[in-house]
């Protein structure tokens, strides 16, 4: 066999050096025919070619599948870096709950509308994830609106909030999201909405049973952690009797 490939570690590889180039179409006609002549006479290289072809086929398929869309290639010469890995929500994952609470939470997380996914259901039967539920915000003061969506996901509720037409918060002001129980007046702060009126919050699903309403208030950055007098939006995600409810108020 001619032209042995040098092993960078110092050893020798007896494989013909051009088998990969042959499969990838990188050789000239003359080079291709020379490799062909060699393969006619060399059984070991024919066996190597079979192994190389398997690897080449796997890699070619993967490369083609993972190729970025042409628009992305045009937009950027360098591929965007991969974002950092998500942090495992260990406490939530390790948290075990009494079955009764699971059932109660499941019953309570019922939104105002069926999931708007009729068109997009095909092939989802075996997907091991929860179904999002949602409720509409109604204005308490002003003319804002919006929607709250919750996913009860193996013990953790992921809540996503999108509001519309809320007046821009003034200097030193912000919109804060709460869980609210109208019967007892109990409130639980979830966090602050972003400047675009959107926010995402995550909390154990057992908390949902103690509340029925998602409230958005306008707060001042005055150091007072209590709810202000100004509620601007509310969405009811469950009736006070524990059954599903839709009304806002």
């Amino acid at each position: 066999m001619s032209d042995l490939t040098q092993d960078p570690t110092g050893g020798a590889d007896s494989t013909h050096p051009d088998l990969v180039a042959l499969l990838r179409g990188e050789l000239s006609n003359a080079e291709t025919l020379r490799v062909a002549e060699h393969l006619d006479e060399c059984e070991a290289c024919r066996a190597d070619l079979a192994d190389t072809a398997v690897g080449h086929s796997l890699l070619s398929g993967a490369g083609r599948t993972l190729q970025p869309p042409a628009s992305a290639v045009e937009a950027s010469a360098e591929p965007a870096p991969l974002p950092p890995a998500p942090t495992p929500p260990g406490l939530l994952a390790r948290w075990s709950r009494p079955l009764a609470l699971v059932a109660a939470a499941t019953a309570l997380v019922v939104g105002s509308a069926a999931v708007t996914g009729v068109v997009l259901r095909g092939g989802d039967e075996d997907v091991p994830v929860a179904t999002p539920q949602q409720a509409d915000f109604e204005p308490v003061e002003g003319s804002g609106s919006g929607r709250v969506q919750m996913v009860d996901d193996d013990g953790a509720v992921s809540m996503t909030i999108e509001t519309r037409d809320l007046p821009k918060a003034g200097k030193g002001e912000f919109y804060q999201v709460w869980l609210f129980n109208p019967e007892t007046g109990k409130m639980l702060s979830l966090g602050i909405l972003g400047p675009e009126g959107k926010g995402g919050f995550e909390f154990p699903d057992t908390l949902l049973g103690g509340y029925q309403v998602v409230d958005v208030s306008l707060e001042k950055d005055d150091g007072d952690p209590a709810h202000s007098v100004t509620s601007v939006l509310r969405a009811t995600y469950a009736g006070s009797d524990g059954e599903s409810g839709t009304a806002a108020g």
């Binding site: 960078p8 590889d13 494989t15 690897g55 998500p86 495992p88 260990g90 091991p128 994830v129």
Partner: protein, 184 residues
């Protein structure tokens, strides 16, 4: 980066089910690029990173439901598929291209999930190659460079690039056979 010996897809799935936090890191290192490519195809680059993160968090939370008889990447990409569908579903004010919906949810959608799962398995196996072989293989097959171009870029003799490509390609085939054999 070389992955640990127990980082094969099914082994990662089993470790995830045991709530081994390093399994999530291994899964992300091995499969995130392929998942990102998959979800970018449907939701676009701007939302793809968010869908990527939610996919892996769902994989963590639902790892107890992973069946080790099932291919891990098939399970993972099914979650990615669902998250991509959710994202398109929530675009109330934007028109979603009909072809995108058809490709994502029809018969082609299942085929696409399987194709990306295949590609992710190969991509993960490439990550297990020795670094000097991995770099050449990645440039050849994922950046579509010729061996001559790789030699120029790496400032290596062409013969060295050929040798690394040759050994890397055959080693990759062996790794994939071993992974497949271990699943039986």
């Amino acid at each position: 980066m070389e992955l640990p010996d127990n980082a094969g897809g099914r082994a990662i799935g089993i470790r995830l089910a045991d709530h081994d936090e390093t399994a999530l890191e291994d899964a992300y290192a091995a499969y995130a690029p392929a998942v990102l490519a998959y979800v970018s195809k449907y939701v676009g680059r701007d939302e793809a990173e968010d869908v990527l993160q939610r996919t892996f968090l769902d994989a963590w939370r639902h790892a107890g439901r992973y069946d080790p008889r099932q291919r891990f990447t098939g399970w993972l990409f099914t979650i990615a598929h669902r998250r991509a569908v959710d994202t398109l579903r929530n675009r109330r004010t934007q028109v979603v291209d009909v072809e995108t919906i058809r490709d994502l949810t029809g018969e082609d959608g299942r085929e696409t999930v399987e194709r990306f799962a295949d590609a992710a398995d190969v991509r993960a196996a490439v990550g297990k190659l020795p670094d000097h072989e991995r770099v050449v293989i990645e440039m050849a097959y994922f950046e579509d460079l010729t061996q001559q171009e790789i030699a120029t870029r790496l400032e290596l003799p062409l013969g060295t690039v050929k040798a690394r490509a040759s050994r890397g390609t055959r080693r990759l085939a062996t790794l994939m056979r071993a992974e497949e054999g271990g699943a039986r």
